[in-house]
């Protein structure tokens, strides 16, 4: 059974624990600017929206990579950046229509959510269950995929 992140912005208080946990797990430092999940703030409406990669089927990042450095994780279904192969060309950062692959100038490589290998720290650190890791069929994943499909201008060769 494939699991995926389920984000419920209505429950988010903007505490940024997810960003801290992500940064610590993946970069070894408490630095929200290095987090792969970002909480966006809508001041006018007093709303917070956590946002990260949906591990979309289209995998724009993976197909755009010229050196085969983004691969599907057979266990979690996430699209993972192999840092030893990434040359830092950034083509995936412009190819991803969700804006969830980012360049890290310190390492000279790109970073994206890899679901922490199946134990996402943003989930375990969230005090309000705004971010949960659940059966993919039960989430809004299908909605996001529907949106992704809208962006898809090519014949789905995998169909």
């Amino acid at each position: 059974m494939q699991k995926s992140l389920h984000i419920d912005p209505g429950k988010c208080t903007g505490c940024l624990q997810c960003e801290m946990a992500c940064s610590l797990e993946n970069e070894g430092v408490f630095n929200p600017s290095k987090s792969r999940i970002k909480v966006f703030t809508f001041h006018e409406e007093g709303r917070f929206v956590p946002y990260t990669c949906t591990q979309c089927d289209e995998a724009w990042c993976m197909h755009a990579c010229p050196v085969d450095a983004i691969v599907i994780n057979a266990v979690t279904g996430s699209k993972d950046v192999k840092a030893d192969l990434c040359v830092g060309c950034k083509v995936c950062t412009i190819a991803c229509p969700f804006g969830t692959v980012n360049y890290n100038a310190d390492s000279g490589k790109v970073v994206k959510c890899d679901l922490c290998g199946g134990d996402p720290k943003c989930v375990s650190s969230c005090p309000t269950d705004a971010i949960t890791y659940v059966d993919a069929n039960a989430t809004g994943l299908d909605k996001m995929r529907a949106w992704a499909a809208k962006t898809d201008n090519s014949v789905s060769a995998d169909a």
Partner: protein
Amino acid sequence: MLYVIVGAGPAGVVAAEQLRKLDPLGNVTLIGDEPEAPYSRMAIPYYLTDKIEEQGTHLRKQSGHYDAHTIDVVQDRVVSIDTSINEVHLASGDKRRYDKLLLATGSSPAVPPIPGIELAGVHNCWTLEDARAIVKLAKPGASVVLMGAGFIGCIVLEALALRDVKLTVVEMENRMVPRMMNETSGNMIKRWCEEKGVAVHTSTRAESIEQSGSGLVVKLSNGENVAADLVISATGVKPNMQFAADSGIETDQGILVNHFLQTSDEDIYAAGDVCQGKDFSTGEFTVQAIQPTAVEHARVAASNMARGHHSEHAGNVNMNVLDTIGLVSASFGSWMGTEGGDSVELVNEPAFKYLSLQFEDDVLIGASSLGLTQHVGVLRGLIQSRTRLGDWKEKLKEDPLRIMEAYLACAQGQSTSMT
């Protein structure tokens, strides 16, 4: 089915893999003329800076990848196509029959009409073989003249700067990367390079290259003479399509295709840098010559070749991303705007930050940026989904950096409003 693919770059390799997947019993042959495993030219700059070994440029890393997928990789060059009997003729004298043929032959460096361009010590930076020659000549402290500050020139520029050479760049246009940056942002990149110790001459031509002792001298149109141990020519590329044109395939800027990436011959398709495919923004057919387009062409063409024509190709968003000695720039779609359109421009010269957004009505149609590395992909997302921005257009005109919020509020409204 017999599938033959000409060209072993990203488009050729992806098409071969797709054909294998879609038609497991088909016979897939991939013909490339370079004596290398299929590799990515885009990775060459990183080879030049020792970030990767040669194998790091290879498109597929597993040994035996092509055998495992039963893709027959042939090193040869196609010299002509006999379209009457569906056969390609190779430089070796060999011939190959095909049921469906894909032309993914890419492009080659243009040779500028400059006296002395043929001298030893003048190189392109296009193939792995070129890169090996540059590695030998571009030693720390060597004087290097780079002709052309377009996209490829600028990528090479960064690699050379990191090799600690004494670098002079010559560009005919009035700014750097003229096909992805306007005068303001293109000149910000120029100033950035100058501050990093690179001499940049814009609105300047190299008029001649002459031998001078063991080195070269490049004479510039501004009267300067620049001594060089190595001259690199990056003045543009041209599609590799003469053999196709001579075989009766219709060509213009590139090989002409219809909405199914099919050429004027019904059994022949084209993909990648050689293909004059549909542009998403303008609806016109142009040569984009970018990696994401090459790969999308390949997948669409392979599907059409194996399964017939099911849906029209909507066109590719033209986009580029470039790192010029640490200053990251990107451009998307109609970044220069359209007549009657609306726009907003944020310019921060001291911080080397720039963002321009182009709208038609309340839809984002193009963008270009400097110094932006987080969430830049949403610019593509908003352009390609033709998302109506509504009130957010005015908010973006006040602060264009709120692009990610605009995206979440408009394009993913369904998920952000979920309770």
